[in-house]
Structure formats: C-alpha cells, structure tokens
C-alpha cells in the first residue's frame, strides 16, 4: 500500500529521504506495509461505526440546521519520541507561563505596555481586550487555565508555534476518544511501543478547576457551561462533564442571586463555585457584554468580579491569543521570564506596521494572510493558491483595516502517511497539545494531530475538511534493538525544536 508513496519534498514524519522508515516508526511501518487493503479497511470501518454509535460527532454549519458528522479518523498513528517531546513540553510550559503573566500585567500594571515592548494601542485597541477586567483580582492570577497551542513542523522538521488558543480551545475529547478507538481496533500496533497514557486528563482538568475555587468551598461545585446541544463542540462539553462527573449546564440553568451563582435543580437552587465555560466572553452575560445573548447568565460578570465564582478560562484572555499579539510572544517570554523562547514562532508580518504592510501587499502571492479576529480557518487567504481576484479583495481589506491582519510565509507543514482510497499518501499535519495551568502546569503527553485530508491542502481545521490521528508520545526513543534494524539514530530523525 506504500508503492506510490512520495515525500513531495516535505518533511515526512515516517520516512527518511532514502525511503527507510525513521527508527521510531520502524515497527508501525513494518506492520502497515504487511497489512492488506482489506484488513485495513475492516479496521477503518470498525472505527467509523464505533464513532457513529457512540455519537462522537460534531456539527457543521453552513446549511440551515447543521449536519452531524464524524471527525474523519486516520488510523496511522503519529509518533513522537521522548526526547522531542521533552523540548515541546518545556516550550509549552514556558509559553503558557508568559501568556498568563501577560494577561495579569495587561489588566493590572501594564508594565509591558509602559516599557514599550508591545505597542499599547495594539493591546488596548484589541476587540478581545476586556476593560471590565481592569484591576479585577482572580484566583491564583491565572487567566489561561486551559490552552491548546497549535504546532507545525517546517521543511527541516523544526517545531514552530502557529498559534495559541487561550480562550476555549476544543478537541481534547477527540484525543481521548481516538486513543480509545485505536486501542480497540489496532491493539497489536501498540505492542512494540511504550506509549504514554493520556487517560488522566479529565482528572487533571478537574483538579485544575477545583484549585480555582474560593477557599470557603471544601468541596467546590464545578460545572461545565455549554452554549447548548446545537453547538458544534457539544459532544466535547458533554464528554468532559461526564468524565469529570460534574453537571453540564446551559445559561438558562444558572441564576445569579445576591452576587452568587446558583444552578436550578429539582431540589432547589445549588451554589456553583467554578464554571468551566465553553461560551465565549461576548455571550457570557447579557448585562455586561452582548445584550442579545440568550446563552449567558445575567449578572454573571458581577458575581465573577466580586470573586464569588471562578470562570475558567478567565474573561479577557482573548488578548493573549490575538493573532496581532502573537508575533510578540517571544518578546513577552524575554520580558517576564528573562528567557529565550524554546519554541519559535512562524515569522509574521504585522499589517498594522507600515513597512510590514507594504511588504505584505507586494507579496500577497506567496503569503498566508490571516484575519486576527477569526479562527477555525475562516477569514484566511492562502496567497499562493488563491485566484488573483481573491488576492485583490484581500488587499483592499488589508488597506482598509490593517490592524485586523497578519501575514506569514507559507509554512510547508510536515506530512504523514494517511490512508487514502486503498493506499497511503502523504498528508499535511499539525499538532495541538493541551496544557493545564492549575496548582501546577500539566502538559498532556500528546494532543490532537490534525490532518489536511485533501491532497495538497495546508488547512487542517475540522470545519475545512480536516481529520485527526492518534498521537503517541513515547516513554523512550521508540527504537527496538532488533537484529537487522538500524540502531543508530541518524541526524535527520531527531530534528527537534530549535
């Protein structure tokens, strides 16, 4: 099934340029190469049926009511050896620490702005900047408790940060379900490896949430707040509530009385201490933010500011994952931690800067332009692929509102074998690890590997035809001392971090 496999000049996760499997992929490659199409298809079918029956679906909007779909699952696992992961992990911990210090700074002293490290107008003028949070004390000064940071690898195999998701990152439920399905349909694949377990995530998440409760609560009541059953990530909200054994609430289930938050139960009102909210800032409280929001809870912001309830993530973290702020994260790390960034950014042009803007407008055909206020692959121009009419339209938009745009050179994402119509082809992938910032910082070993299933596509978002893979972080280097197998690791195979 690998006969026609090509590296297409990209960094290939599984194969070296000479078509030998990288040492940590050798066992999986051997197994897959020996497996027939029929056997593989059977497993794929098992996995799909399992996703459907368990209702592991998301809703795609576009047509009137939305269609329930399964997130396409690619059975070939992505493998990361321990030494690579150590660097990623340190880089992520460093990054979330700096981002939290940044949020706290912005909503209190604003040192980083006063010292001119980041232009003040960029932060204070951001849509996601929440004036309501100025001077508000929140538990443990932690703003981003749960972060999903998107990493990609370039042609040289270097891990780069594409963006941080510090508001309500989603996808972790698929990570856990992918692993569960993988164990069921491909148990033998695991046997050659020591794959780190990810099952403790819900327990760690609950511990993180509980650690944000006010001191009065010996046994704090934690809830997950969802926009409701029609939200595209509803499955995940329900999944996490179930895994943690806490209530899944909607805005209408909560009521604020006397500055405290309660949920309506059949036995009367029950006090709520911590809300893991999967509702955007804008919709949280119609009295404080969008008055037309039916998803929120009137008075919630007041209760929050009084310290009577904890919100996770905090309100106002949107400034930290604003695409216009992203280019400054390495500066932030230097400023707060006096360290160099362990994980590099993708080089970025900030259209708000006149020089950068000029460059971007002149090089649209080779850049990726992103709207700073959109996510999920929307509002994006792939300059090298787009027709000139679309480029012209973007040029007009950029000139009209430069603050709203950044641009990056096209990163040729690494590719990974994916099963396509009876054989394997290379498809681009990224990686979203999940970081919990509670009493301690815990990085889930692994994360969501997303695959751009369309040939040649660089867009991995689920809303844009992406799929996902199980991601294995190994306890070791994944090299088996088997006779006849290369035991030395070539330089090529451990291209790690920076």
């Amino acid at each position: 099934m690998f006969e026609s496999y090509e590296s297409q000049g990209l960094f290939d996760e599984m194969y070296l340029p000479d078509h030998r499997a990288r040492p940590h992929y050798a066992a999986v490659a051997a197994r897959l190469e020996s497996l027939g199409t029929a056997a593989f298809d059977r497993r794929r079918e098992m996995a799909n049926v399992s996703f459907i029956n368990q209702g592991i679906t998301f809703t795609v909007y576009g047509d009137q009511r939305g269609v329930e779909k399964i997130f396409p699952f690619d059975l070939v696992p992505r493998i990361i050896p321990a030494s690579e992961w150590q660097v990623i992990e340190r880089g992520l911990v460093q990054r979330i620490t700096a981002l939290n210090m940044f949020c706290d700074d912005v909503y209190h002293e604003q040192r980083i702005l006063k010292e001119g490290v980041i232009p003040a107008e960029l932060v204070l003028g951001a849509k996601m900047f929440r004036r309501e949070m100025l001077g508000v004390e929140i538990p443990r000064k932690t703003y981003i408790h749960i972060c999903g940071t998107d990493l990609v690898r370039d042609r040289d195999g270097r891990y780069l940060v594409l963006e941080d998701n510090g508001r309500t990152p989603s996808g972790v439920s698929y990570v856990l379900e992918n692993r569960a399905v993988m164990k069921r349909v491909f148990p033998t694949l695991f046997s050659a490896y020591r794959v780190r377990s990810i099952e403790q995530y819900p327990r760690n998440l609950l511990a993180c949430l509980r650690s944000m409760a006010q001191s009065h609560a010996l046994d704090p009541t934690v809830v997950v707040l969802t926009p409701g059953i029609f939200n595209s990530a509803y499955f995940e909200h329900s999944f996490l509530a179930r895994q943690m054994g806490v209530e899944l609430v909607e805005g209408r289930d909560l009521v604020v009385d006397g500055g405290f938050v309660f949920m309506r139960t059949t036995g009367g009102l029950e006090r709520v201490d911590v809300i893991y909210r999967r509702v955007d800032d804008d919709f949280l409280d119609p009295l404080a933010f969008r008055p037309d929001s039916a998803l929120g809870v009137p008075g919630l912001m007041g209760a929050y500011r009084m310290g009577n309830v904890a919100l996770v993530n905090a309100v106002g973290t949107g400034i930290a994952d604003d695409k216009a702020i992203y280019p400054y994260v390495p500066d932030m790390i230097r400023f707060y931690l006096n360290e160099d960034a362990i994980l590099a950014n993708v080089p970025t042009y900030i259209c708000a800067r006149p020089d950068d803007r000029q460059y971007v407008l002149e090089h649209l055909h080779e850049l990726v332009v992103k709207s700073t206020n959109e996510s999920g692959g929307y509002g994006m121009l792939m300059g090298h692929q787009a027709p000139s009419s679309e480029r012209a339209a973007f040029a007009t938009k950029i000139a009209a509102d430069p603050r709203n745009f950044i641009a990056q050179p096209v990163v040729e994402l690494s590719q990974h074998p994916s099963y396509v119509d009876g054989h394997f082809e290379g498809r681009r992938i990224d990686l979203r690890p999940y970081i919990l910032f509670g009493e301690k910082v815990v990085v889930m070993p692994g994360g969501l590997t997303r695959v751009a299933l369309r040939k040649g596509s660089l867009v991995v978002n689920s809303s844009q035809g992406g799929g996902s893979k199980d991601t294995w972080v190994l306890e070791d280097e994944g090299v088996q001392a088997q006779p006849g197998q290369a035991s030395s690791i070539s330089d090529d195979s451990i291209a790690v971090g920076i």
């Binding site: 459907i52 029956n53 368990q54 209702g55 059953i229 509803y234 329900s238 999944f239 509530a241 179930r242 209530e247 899944l248 609430v249 909607e250 209408r252 289930d253 949920m263 309506r264 139960t265 059949t266 036995g267 009367g268 029950e270």
Partner: protein, 330 residues
C-alpha cells in the same frame, strides 16, 4: 447493629439534578416508550392483514383509520399507494408527524443527547444505534423488503434500552423520572388503544362473539404486548369487558394500567422524597391506584368503557402536568 448505623452514615445525599436534565430524561423515556408502542401497533396490524387475508374494503379502511386514531393522527396521509401501505410508511417515517417512529426516536435521542452525561454509555449507544438505524439511507429499502423486520428491530431496541436503564444507572431520581415517564405513557397508550377500538365496531358487534370481534380485541391485546398473558388467564374468547378489565385491573401484569399507575406513583413518591418537593401528582396517582385496586369489572361496564378510559386518561394527564409544573418549569 453498628453495621447498620455505619452503612447509613456513608449513604450520601444523591447528586443534585438540573431541572432541565430531569425534563430531558423524562421525555427521553416517554418518547422511547411511545416508539415501542407505535412500532408494535403497526406490526400487529400489518400481521392482521396476513392472518385474515381478504377483508372487505370498508373494514380494512376502518382498521387503518383506527391505527391513525390510536396515534391521534387526524389527517390521512395522501398518495397513490393503497391506504395500508400509506399509513405504514407515513407512521414509520414521516418527519413532521410527532407520533411517527422517526420523530419519536429523534426526540428520544435529542433528549438523551441533552443528558448524555447523566445516562450510561450503554443506554446512549443503544438509543443512538436505533436513531441511526431509522435514519440510515438503507432504512427505506429495508422497509420495502420487510417492514415487520424494521419494527421488530425497534421493539427489541426499546426493550434493550429499558433493560439497560434498569441495570446500568443508579435507581436515584434520574431513574425515577424515566419510570414515571414510561408508565404514564403506557397508561395513556393503553387507554387510547381501547378507546379507538370501541369506535370501530357497533355496540351490537362488540356484544357478540365473532371473527371480526376477535380480530379487533386480540389486536388490542397484541398491541399492548398482552395477548399471551391474557390467554393464560382468560382463554381465547375476546369479550371486550374481559379484555379491558385485564388490561386495566390486573395489578400483577406489567402492561396493565394498575401496574403502571403503581409504578408511577412509587416513582413520583421517590422523586418527591429525594428532592424534598411534594407534588399533587402523588395524591392523584395514589388515589387512582386505590380506586383501581378495589375496582370491579362491573363498575367499568356500568360507567361505560369509553367514559372509564377517558377518566383514566385525564387523571394521568393531570399527574403528568403536575410533575412538569413542579419540576420542569424554569
């Protein structure tokens, strides 16, 4: 003695339950019970056609109009196909009609999805499978091949679901809400099945044993999953009063009205105890239970079967409405 005390002290107050979740779990259970009843009703009538062979056209029409009437569907579906086929397909698949199998299973599942974290994975998966089964592109073809098979799948699916509900979640208020819903729905259905059947024959036809009378009243029993239990106690004559008395007053039989009222009364009492909120439904169902326990078939005959059924239905509806007012209004 100490052991008893210690056991009591580790008994936790059960987890509070969101009003919205209680509402959803109640309707999940009601729609599931309804789906099963609809599937059985269709299956029984399709089977009758085979059993009796040729029916006079007007009798056949009446039979299928009776099916619609039992489901409280007013409009007869239009189309070129013969009436039986039209009704079967309509009641199975019509997405607009709230009583169709598709609708019942969709609503049961939507409600289950809203409380996914409060029901067991087994319950969810069994219901989800049924949902995809009826929504599958293949369902229509399967229906054309053998509607009976499709309905049977739904009936056994519902029974599996109910068994899982009994065996895979704690019997706390969640479960009590499912039981209340299931049994209230069952009483309502049984009363409707009896009522509509009365209208299909003249009073004189109901009085005299005939193949037609047997056909109709055995259909009622079958659609209530009660034919075997009835035969074991009452033989093969299908005297309407005997059938109705069995379906209403036999407290030992899980499909009877009395049995259902007892279970529903127990369930609402348990909910009230757990939540600390008493409700009128306890009194309504308690009174109804006492009445049925000591009722005689002659009383039903004296009041008239139709009127008696009406009375039962309105009391059960009142209990359901009170439950909603007490817990679900938010």
């Amino acid at each position: 003695m100490n052991v008893v005390r210690e056991t009591a002290s580790v008994h936790h107050r059960s987890r509070p339950m969101l009003v919205r979740a209680a509402d959803a779990i109640y309707w999940m259970s009601r729609y599931m019970e309804r789906a099963e009843a609809v599937a059985r009703l269709l299956s029984v009538h399709a089977g009758l056609l085979i059993d009796v062979g040729e029916l006079p056209s007007h009798a056949e029409q009446a039979l299928w109009r009776g099916v619609l009437a039992t489901m409280r569907i007013d409009n007869v579906p239009s189309g070129p196909a013969p009436l039986p086929q039209r009704v079967m397909r309509f009641v199975t698949f019509d997405p607009q009609s709230p009583m169709s199998l598709t609708s019942c299973l969709t609503r049961a599942r939507e409600n289950a999805r809203a409380v996914r974290e409060r029901i067991s994975a087994e319950m969810w998966e069994s219901l989800n499978r049924l949902y995809w089964f009826i929504h599958d592109q293949d369902a229509s073809r399967r229906f054309d091949e053998s509607p009976e098979d499709l309905w049977r799948e739904i009936i056994t699916g519902s029974m599996l679901f109910q068994g899982l509900c009994d065996q895979t979640i704690a019997h706390d208020q969640r479960w009590h809400f499912t039981q209340t819903a299931k049994y209230l729905e069952r009483v309502d259905y049984t009363c409707r099945a009896i009522q509509t059947r009365l209208a299909l024959l003249t009073p004189a036809e109901h009085q005299v044993e005939s193949p037609l009378r047997s056909l109709h009243w055995s259909a009622v029993l079958r659609s209530c999953c009660s034919i075997e239990a009835f035969r074991q106690n009452h033989g093969t004559g299908f005297d309407p009063l005997a059938v109705v008395s069995f379906l209403v007053l036999d407290g030992g039989f899980p499909r009877s009205v009395l049995f259902s009222v007892m279970r529903a009364r127990e369930a609402v009492t348990a909910v009230a105890a757990e939540t600390g909120h008493a409700m009128t439904a306890q009194r309504i169902l308690g009174r109804l239970e006492a009445t049925l326990r000591y009722a005689q078939p002659a009383e039903i005959a004296h009041q008239g079967i139709a009127s008696y059924m009406q009375g039962l239905q309105s009391q059960v509806a009142e209990a359901g409405a009170d439950l909603q007012d007490t817990y679900f209004l938010y």
